[in-house]
Symmetry: C2
Subunit: 389 residues, 2 copies
Amino acid sequence: MLTFEKDEFKERIRKTKERMSNQGIEVLIATHPANMNYLSGYDGWSFYVHQGLIILIDQDEPIWFGREQDSNGARLTTWLSADNIKGYQDDYVQSLVKHPMSFVANILKNRGYDDKNIGVEMDNYYFTPRCLGQLRTDLPCAEFKDATLIIPRVRLIKSERELKYMKMASRIVENVMQVAIDTIEPGVREGDAAANVYHAQISGTKEYTGDYTAIAPIMPSGERTSTAHLTWTDRKYQKGDVVLLELAGSKYKYHAPLSRTVFIGEPPKDLTEIAKVVVEGLNQTLDFIKPGITCEEVEEKWRKSISGSKVVKESRVGYAYGLNYPPDWGEHTASLRPGDKTILKEGMTFHFMPGIWLDKFGFENSEPFYVTSNGCETFVDFPRKLFIK
Amino acid sequence: MLTFEKDEFKERIRKTKERMSNQGIEVLIATHPANMNYLSGYDGWSFYVHQGLIILIDQDEPIWFGREQDSNGARLTTWLSADNIKGYQDDYVQSLVKHPMSFVANILKNRGYDDKNIGVEMDNYYFTPRCLGQLRTDLPCAEFKDATLIIPRVRLIKSERELKYMKMASRIVENVMQVAIDTIEPGVREGDAAANVYHAQISGTKEYTGDYTAIAPIMPSGERTSTAHLTWTDRKYQKGDVVLLELAGSKYKYHAPLSRTVFIGEPPKDLTEIAKVVVEGLNQTLDFIKPGITCEEVEEKWRKSISGSKVVKESRVGYAYGLNYPPDWGEHTASLRPGDKTILKEGMTFHFMPGIWLDKFGFENSEPFYVTSNGCETFVDFPRKLFIK
């Protein structure tokens, strides 16, 4: 049931250890579900309890820890040997008197790693101040360092097989977007369009089904398009609505995000104008992207290509993405924005997302792309325009 | 667009402040999206960036903080006045040099609350060690206390309107479960059954649509039922499969979770036996539940009612639930398990979830219920049994 060859996992571990070593980290505790999956294959909706991988700098295999009832899941989905799968008893779960990080501390004590430099994810959804506090209490001789980005930085460059899964997800999102646009009509409830979107996401293609995506379909209409990140309601679409569609496909938790905008009826002139400017700027920027330039240069190119227009876009225009779990498919490493000096390399994957939210409505038209040896390729084949219904 | 009357929000704030006061907390920073929604109405898939509410003990209204591009969402979905909606610039997002908690610290400094006792959620997905570290650095005169459970404990007892939303979600999950059972047949891909489940979750009923649920459909089959929390694959159902269905409906992010088990073909005798024992134990336990008893007494009753059978269940058998966001619909307050002395009160809502996972397969049959003035009522009307296809 492994989605990658064991050798690929081992190569990821090797690269992770290289970064650990450079930062003087001897033990890495990775709790982010995407980091866990990346190094071990572990997959399950169990990240609502404390769990993780322990990577020891001088050991070949990581140790999985989690709730005992999930340990069969680790046996089924990872390449780890039985000795390295450690389940804690259920009375550790959401307890006021015991904490799972004490269980982790005991593993480290038993193996003689209790006085090491330990890297933890200081700014990650799944590692809390209580986790850190418990580890500090139980391992007084250890030193703790921030290791939030060690594994995500390895994840930045995708292998052939990872790109393959992202392309599979891209086939799904093409269907998903078409289904959404086809469904949106005056009188249809937003929730019914969302239901069709979910159905297309998960039923996938004839060859394979899809996985849940790390972000729910974002698809506000009308006044609600003036802000980011709203989902759907019982409201029925009406003539004159703008509908934003920020959707995705996912296979083996590798994503394909895609945004488009629909107008129901005759669009106002300023929206048509914004659409034209955004799509032109997008095309010019994609032509410009190649290995060796920096993330901030991509954003600069975008900003220049829309200069002189009314379009104002103050937030970042894209970010690295790939393998992920809720609540975000972004990797939190590289962003297309001023100040980000990350150099683009072959195999990196970004969601270029020039979304615009004005006070009365918004317009989005994004493209996910990967960096090639001499330029970039977009993952998705879908018209770049304002869709009129 | 508010889903509750302003007075109900104010009553929740009053109860929250009462608990703050009892714990000597003058400022509460609530970042859990369910806590934010509960006090302000805020709703959006924006919890992947740092955001929250600040509750000041001597002020009527909380302050919303979040990303600037989400602040229109706060204007649209909360009852807060414009002055109390504070958006931070986009260069705070996932930055290595700036942290949103500095923005929060500045709000507190500007309003003269920088030397107070500040409650933060020490063991919550959305508040990280980095968040705490930044606040400590920026507010050296403040004292920080754990306030993880202050708002969840208020959330334990539901109002009439909350129960109404949970009943709406219950109507949805009845459809969802029936659709799942109807779809499961030899030769059907697990993912296609999951697609139908999602469609039923979101399209809801004729009267209203459904929302996304805090946990994805958990629906492993065959060998994968030997563990908790696996979702679906491309695998096709076969004769002889056990299929676990842990599904939910959601309205306004109020949930109705429900688990059932399907066997395709002639079930093995030990599975039929486990099913009978679990359902009988469930029925006996539900008859026993009433206000005034403790959570651990419920578990004890369950354990006694199955004693003498082969059924072994070491994990907790239920938990408080209601309003929530990914990754969990559980409230992390009261659990039906030994040691939990929470006293059941009218208006509390639990998911009684006696799931069994043996080495070769599992069986689940759950019931969500609410405590009434003299007993309990189940939310869902769905047969309690092993379903045979």
